[in-house]
Amino acid sequence: MKTRVANEWLVFAVLLAVLLLAAPNALSPFRLNLLGKFLALAILALGIDLIWGYTGILSLGHGVFFGLGGYCMAMYLKLAVGTAGTYMVALPDFMVWNGLKALPWFWKPMYHFWIAIPLAVLLPALCGAIFGFLTFRSRVQGVYFSIITQAMALVASLLLIGQQPYTGGTNGITDFNDILGFPIAAKKTQTGLYIVTVLCLAACYVLCRWIVRSKFGRVLAAIRDAENRVRFLAYDTVMFKVFVFSISAALAGLAGALFVPQVGIISPSNIGVVPSIEMAIWVAVGGRGTLSGAVLGAVLVNAAKSAFSESFPDFWLYFLGLLFIGVVLFFPEGCVGIFLRARERFRRPAKKSPGAELKSEMEKPVPQRAGGVSR
């Protein structure tokens, strides 16, 4: 048992070293940038896994929190352009097109990097907490919660498109020059951003692992498996769910803030109904209820997406559709689940440990149902 945990940390350390030291030298700037983007999205996947894999709540509105973080960052970057923009004025270009004369009040704090960045994490957390409180308190559960979050994603993207003078509309916010004084497109800046992303991902992984291994994490799993029983044991399940939803939203916001400077644009097409539901499939492909699965899934699916759209753009949607169907019908445990089961089968004849039932969360098979009807 102990050696196994040590092995996990060894794998973690080796992967971190490879990502930090080998990848920046071995990959071309284009590929490194792509990898950085995937790893930023992996942070979001960790957040989704926390509420879906571990707490059994499927959110189809995480694009909104991702977008909140992303837009905070984009607003800072846009204001950092200053008077060097197309129109040589201090106002962002799309505000000039739309006839705004002065900067709206909610843009003003974004001049400061050290206000924009905390906001990119805290704003989603706050919105997640309010939304979660309102829905969980009225005991909206299971698919109802998923449907309402999906409506939230729709409304948020419509709002962003509709308020074009303040948000940039369909085009979103793009054309950035520099971040903290460094030119944003330069190779060195991009490598720096990549390294920051890797470090953030590692920190988030450790945080999530600590959460799911703690007593708090046990309660979350209990809520997933039988919420009413947990409630009857005098746990305030609403507050547990609100808290974990809020953390998950904060992770999504952080992912958005890291995504924007590497990709150079954020627009409503990153946060609507369609991207939000795609985020769930990353976690499902990797393996629900395993943190490594969430990271793996985010990287795999997005890598497949960029590979497909380079060579067969028309077939990507077919592939994605089949992925949705296949992962539900044939591989509900995802890649990591399959790997763990294969390892289990390989090991079982050798040794049967007495504490087999008390296996760690990492090795527990993924629950078949997530908020479903028990039968």
Partner: protein, 303 residues
Amino acid sequence: MTPNTFLLGQTFNGLSYCSILLLISLGLAITFGLMGVINMAHGELMMLGSYTAYVLQNIFLRHYSEHFSYYFAIALPLAFVVAGAVGLLLERSLIRFLYGRPLETLLATWGVSLILQQLMRQIFGANNVDVRSPAWLTGRWEPFPGLELPHIRLFIIAFTAICVLLMYAVLFRTTLGLKIRAVTQNRDMSACLGISTGKVDAYTFAIGSGLAGMAGCIISLMGSVGPNTGQNYIVDAFMVVVLGGVGKLAGAIAGSFAIGEVNVLFESFSTATMGKVLVFTVVILFLQWKPSGVFPSKVRSLD
């Protein structure tokens, strides 16, 4: 135009929007409310209905242009058959493995919807296509000066009313309806009593899908249709079901009336997007007061 006729006109517009929503969510109320399946491909089944009308229109224009005015009367039942058949195929090949796991049906049917969308995009192109209304639907009825009611909207309202009545008749006056209700209430006991639950599931799902197809046919009258037509309506339709409560058709009726009228009301004094935002807020606030919708299905068991 006096304020009263304006209000009347808005209410009427709201009513026709309500009927479209109702027609879509009627199918959902059956697949979601009765069977517990979240069919994200419902919007795409609708879209199949729209394209059925489009194809039939082109066939009529080319070969039977003298009978063009009748084409829509054929398109409606044909859309029901096409979408129903696709629904049947979907149920037998995919959904029947996922009963009792609504979140899984949500993800799997989303995959189906992506595939159907891309298929239609490759067959008919990414651009929207127009379906021409037959002549008997293009006029306006003016009950008194200042108030003009387009025939299309009147037709939609009447057609929805007929569909709702038919659904009630099927569910409460036929053997199939009896079986559907029995399987919904207690699947195991129904099976013990000799009802082939698999067959009932398949029929129920096909009826729900067929209704979606007819809704798509109706929507093609209101504007051009394209591969994304279904997605524009599906979220609203699900909100209707959540608001109305599942398990009863009355829930879908109440939900679509509430959402439709409130939407048109808000839109009339702000923009279309703000209307949607306000409706969403109202729904969230309403669920604080009645968490399982207007007509909750009563259960006594807990897990």
